[in-house]
């Protein structure tokens, strides 16, 4: 039981990070109907910006951890959002009226551009940081000597994820901007006729998606203490899977999908052969899609006439 609890903690934290990245995929898909393949690399950029900010803050002698975290988070979100905005402006907007495959190809191209740019600018080595948030709690110790450990970083990751998810769900459901977004999602031409600035709304969607990816990047850096130029690829694929599993286009679905993938991977590794954990995760994805083609929380697409 203790062992299960420990693995549950591991899975939830991993799933939270996947979920944060998955939200970016889902939002962009919801509004423009394309998969932003560069999103994983935006996440990687977020991690690097966080690393650079962190090192600058340390070198000027700042040591108060909550202040450092806040500044790192804000700077990383701001700069990464700028990347998200530029990517949309350069690679997607000019192709929006083009045939369906064009923006997807330019998204894949953008993904290569970003990861190679980071490799050239930052070098190929893994960039480590010392543990920033240390300490934790021993929740329970069994007679056999197995201690269930919950570290402070894990708490920070999960709490940040929940808070951000709440904020963004509120943003989409209750604000004027959210209403614009939902309008564009339903019918861009009609939304434009009714006075919604479609270009601006789409730009903002990319900006928000990138900012969330940046948060995921910061959490990743805090939790694992490592970033490298290649990390966006695998994380991006996992998060994309999470978005599809949860029902692409649905915000809570992305989070749920992220948690599901994180938990499946961890629990499979916990009780079965670690070698087959990806096989397990993707098999479950296929099974879910066979029985629920729109994912766990996705709405069936209504044919517009």
């Amino acid at each position: 039981m203790d062992y299960f609890l420990q693995q549950l903690i591991n899975g939830i934290v991993l799933g939270s990070i996947y979920g944060l990245i998955a939200i970016g995929y889902t939002m962009v898909y919801g509004i423009v109907g394309m998969i932003n393949f560069a999103h994983g690399d935006i996440f990687m950029i977020g991690g690097f910006i966080a690393l650079i900010t962190f090192l600058i803050l340390i070198s000027i002698g700042l040591t108060v951890v909550p202040v450092i975290l806040l500044i790192v988070l804000l700077v990383s979100m701001a700069v990464t959002a700028l990347y998200g905005w530029s990517v949309e402006r350069i690679a997607y907007r000019p192709l929006r009226q083009s045939f369906r495959l064009a923006p997807m190809l330019s998204a894949i191209g953008m993904s290569f551009v970003l990861s190679n740019f980071s490799q050239v600018a930052q070098g190929a080595r893994v960039k480590p940081v010392p543990p920033i948030i240390t300490g934790g709690y021993t929740l329970h110790e069994s007679d056999a000597g197995f201690a269930v450990q919950l570290s402070n970083v894990q708490i920070v990751v999960v709490v940040t994820t929940i808070v951000l998810l709440a904020i963004f769900t509120w943003l989409v459901a209750r604000t004027r901007f959210g209403r614009d977004m939902r309008a564009c999602e339903q019918d861009q031409t009609m939304a434009a006729l009714l006075g919604v600035d479609v270009d601006r709304t789409i730009s903002m969607t990319f900006v928000i998606g990138a900012a969330l990816a940046a948060v995921a990047g910061v959490m990743y850096l805090l939790y694992y203490g490592l970033v490298d130029f290649f990390m966006g690829f695998l994380a991006g694929i996992k998060a994309f899977t999470a978005a599809v599993l949860g029902g692409i286009g649905s915000l809570p679905g992305a989070m749920l999908g992220g948690l599901a993938i994180g938990l499946i991977e961890t629990l499979w590794s916990a009780y079965f052969s670690v070698e087959y954990k990806d096989v397990a995760a993707f098999s479950i994805l296929i099974i879910v899609l066979i029985f629920l083609p729109t994912g766990l929380l996705g709405r069936p697409e209504v044919e517009k006439v």
Binding site: R125, S151, L226, S269, A270, V274, E275
Partner: protein, 373 residues
Amino acid sequence: MKPLKLIGLAFGASLALSTAALAQDITIAVAGPMTGSEAAFGRQLKNGAEQAIADFNAAGGVLGKKLALFVGDDACDPKQARSIAEKVASAGMPFVAGHFCSSSSIPASEAYADGNVLQITPASTNPLFTERKLWNVLRVCGRDDQQGIVAADYILKNFKGKNVAILNDKTTYGKGLADETKKALNKAGFQEKMFESYNKDEKDFNAIASRLKRDNIDLVYIGGYHQQAGAILRQMRAQGMKTVMMSGDSMNDKEFASITGPLAEGTLFTFGPDPRNKPTAKAIVEKFKAKGIDPEGYTLYTYAAMQLWLDAVKQAGTTDPQKVMKVIKAGTWDTVLGKLAFDEKGDIKAIDYVVYKWDDKGNYAEIQPGKGT
């Protein structure tokens, strides 16, 4: 007729020009992961090769010609390694020092063999490299089966009756190393408690760490590269575990300590006796230090590979790879690593792996076998 003649003339002239260029320099290659996640090792190879070329050119080159260096980047990817091998072969280079990753060296060696290029790897330790009876391969480092025996020996002496887990990253190198260590342990009647593998591209090893914690593992042996080993170590310590980590020769890079920080303390790995401490390497080490380079890990191995080839070319009086190879296998050679002699397969005859231990300040040192953990 006339244009054809002209073309023929131009062709002849360009041919003459290119042979003239060749006559000035002998270009040889160093190949390894200059980019990608193993780039730290690529740099060791490149540093060693560049220094060797500089030293030999300063001493007047070889066969009256100067040496030039071609640096090939395989990013530790078998496909790229193969294409570099084809490039080196088609450019007519007689010799390559490389590659680093066993999974690159092995497929590349076949292209080198077909293209008449002599290959000396400074770092690829997978037994298969020399087991395929290719005429053109040599290595100046040890083999994983020997490394496994030394690691197993240490484990048997210091962890008898304790719980040992073996993990690998599914690469040619990592899986090979883990298999050899397991084989050596099992032969001595020692059964490991867990044998698992992980994905090299991932950073989350918490599930594996918890599993090690559940099974009360005292020592975890990693068949894999230092970056994942570093991440696993961090995540084990974050879960409050005191499990000792042990790995192979890829943990000789300082990058390991930069990933783990003081947590590296007590981590063990096997590697050849530190070449930097050998009396034969003293002068070269000084040269590197003067340039601000620490000739760690495989730097001096690469230097020795270059040295070996150049001395053999001098003795053979030709760069013809087949002849040079015969000369190398027939002799005993003085290199920065000490005296080297090779068997028919291309492995060095005397091999001595030792166990090293990291401290909390980011340095490692040899430990006496059998002396505590």
